[in-house]
């Protein structure tokens, strides 16, 4: 969807504020929401794209929320959608004010052993070889479109013409099952932002369906 998350090129957000010696997590609940999201997905308790639920937040809520608040919204929304938890039981439990979650007596050593395999071990390259319409060197134009569902085609590219530089592979597009060719496309900054743009180039990977 063309939502507030699609921020490329917007004005008005001010300077980039970097934090020296930033910790991995700022609060324990941030680490729990990340861990819970990955484990809930692995256990089949939630389905579908976490990002689609984040993108469906009202823009004012999205902008006011921190990154992990958005993750918390997405986790809760998907747990409710799957029927795993109800909003009422979360509301009721949250009202108790507890900040230390219940510890399970049970353990899952087999799953614990899978964590480093999933997060921290060499992988086979994803994607399948692409057989698509375009080859490196082709001129392509990003389609004008306004899909209401989750997609990966930023607005700032629509209608702009660039050049295919590589075909890294094929992956299912958002919401699809079958792999589709993905192209690395190079754009000139002047074509994206006009004559007063900073000189330079922009590269982005785009599914074939976004291009013509």
């Amino acid at each position: 969807m063309d939502g507030i998350h699609d921020m490329g090129g917007m004005h008005g957000f001010g300077p980039v504020e970097a934090e020296p010696d930033e910790p991995v997590f700022h609060e324990p609940w941030e680490s729990r929401v990340l861990g819970l999201s990955l484990v809930a997905a692995a256990n089949g308790l939630i389905r579908g794209s976490g990002r689609s639920r984040i993108e469906a937040m009202r823009p004012v809520d999205y902008l006011a929320a921190s990154y992990y608040e958005r993750w918390a919204h997405s986790l809760e929304t998907r747990l409710i959608e799957s029927g795993t938890l109800s909003r009422d039981e979360i509301d009721t439990r949250a009202a108790s004010g507890e900040t230390t979650p219940t510890r399970s007596a049970a353990t899952s050593p087999d799953m614990v052993a899978l964590v480093p395999r999933f997060l921290n071990s060499p992988q086979a390259t994803s994607g399948t070889p692409a057989a698509g319409r375009f080859v490196p060197g082709d001129s392509v134009t990003v389609r004008r479109m306004a899909p209401a569902s989750h997609h990966r085609c930023p607005r700032y590219l629509r209608g702009v013409t660039g050049t295919v530089t590589a075909v890294p592979g094929a992956w299912p597009a958002a919401g699809e099952q079958e792999p589709e060719a993905v192209y690395t496309v190079r754009f000139a900054n002047a074509d994206l932002w006009g004559d007063d743009a900073e000189p330079g180039t922009l590269y982005i990977d785009l599914w074939e369906r976004y291009l013509e």
Binding site: M10, F13, E19, L36, V39, E76, S108, L192, G200, Y203
Partner: protein, 197 residues
């Protein structure tokens, strides 16, 4: 806390209560166990971070054959050093040169190569960087204290699909005598995102 549209703004103080409630309920229903959540967090805090990427860069600086493999198939060459995993199933390494500087952003969200850099810093996920890196990269770089000489082209990479990017910086002048291990501490997270040169 509810609306017909499924949106419910969460106060900063309330989100901790809601996340805690969710974990307690899932544990009490027997749907998850705490140790697995702990293991995920420990892996991020202990094993994933820019030190991994720095080892890749240092190897590429001392071993031309490795650098060549790295630039052709980042996933496989990074795997040679034992690194890989979620958000790194297809890794591409972007080589800086004396006339080219690469900068990585995810304008739509937070795509980032977890196996080599860990979780992204807050600024990488914030609106200002996502909005501006594609339109005024030199102005953003200047805010990081990075001023590029004239004649250096900036290439911005907007991570949007399944490929995750890291930058291979130029080996600094004056480091010819350093070993691979001595080079590792010279490489920072920001070098590998591209906000540092």
């Amino acid at each position: 806390m509810s609306s017909e549209h499924g949106h419910h703004p969460v106060e900063p103080s309330a989100v901790e209560h809601r996340v805690t409630a969710i974990e307690s309920l899932l544990v009490e229903k027997g749907l998850i166990t705490s140790d697995v959540v702990d293991a995920v967090i420990e892996t991020f805090e202990r094993d994933l971070g820019p030190l991994n990427g720095a080892k890749v860069v240092a190897r590429a600086w001392v071993d031309d054959a490795y650098r060549a493999r790295l630039l052709v198939d980042g996933t496989a060459a990074i795997g040679e050093l034992g690194f890989g995993g979620a958000e790194g199933e297809h890794l591409t390494v972007l080589e800086n040169t004396p006339t080219l500087h690469n900068l990585v952003v995810c304008t739509l969200c937070s795509c980032y190569p977890w196996p080599v850099l860990g979780l992204p810093p807050r600024w990488y996920k914030d609106a200002a960087y996502r909005a501006r890196a594609v339109r005024e990269p030199r102005a953003v770089l200047a805010e990081f204290g990075t001023t590029l000489p004239d004649g250096v082209e900036v290439a911005v990479w907007d991570s949007s699909a399944e490929i995750r990017y890291m930058v291979l910086p130029v080996r600094p002048d004056g480091t010819e005598g350093l070993s691979e291990d001595e080079l590792v501490p010279l490489v920072t997270r920001d070098h590998m995102i591209g906000t540092a040169r």
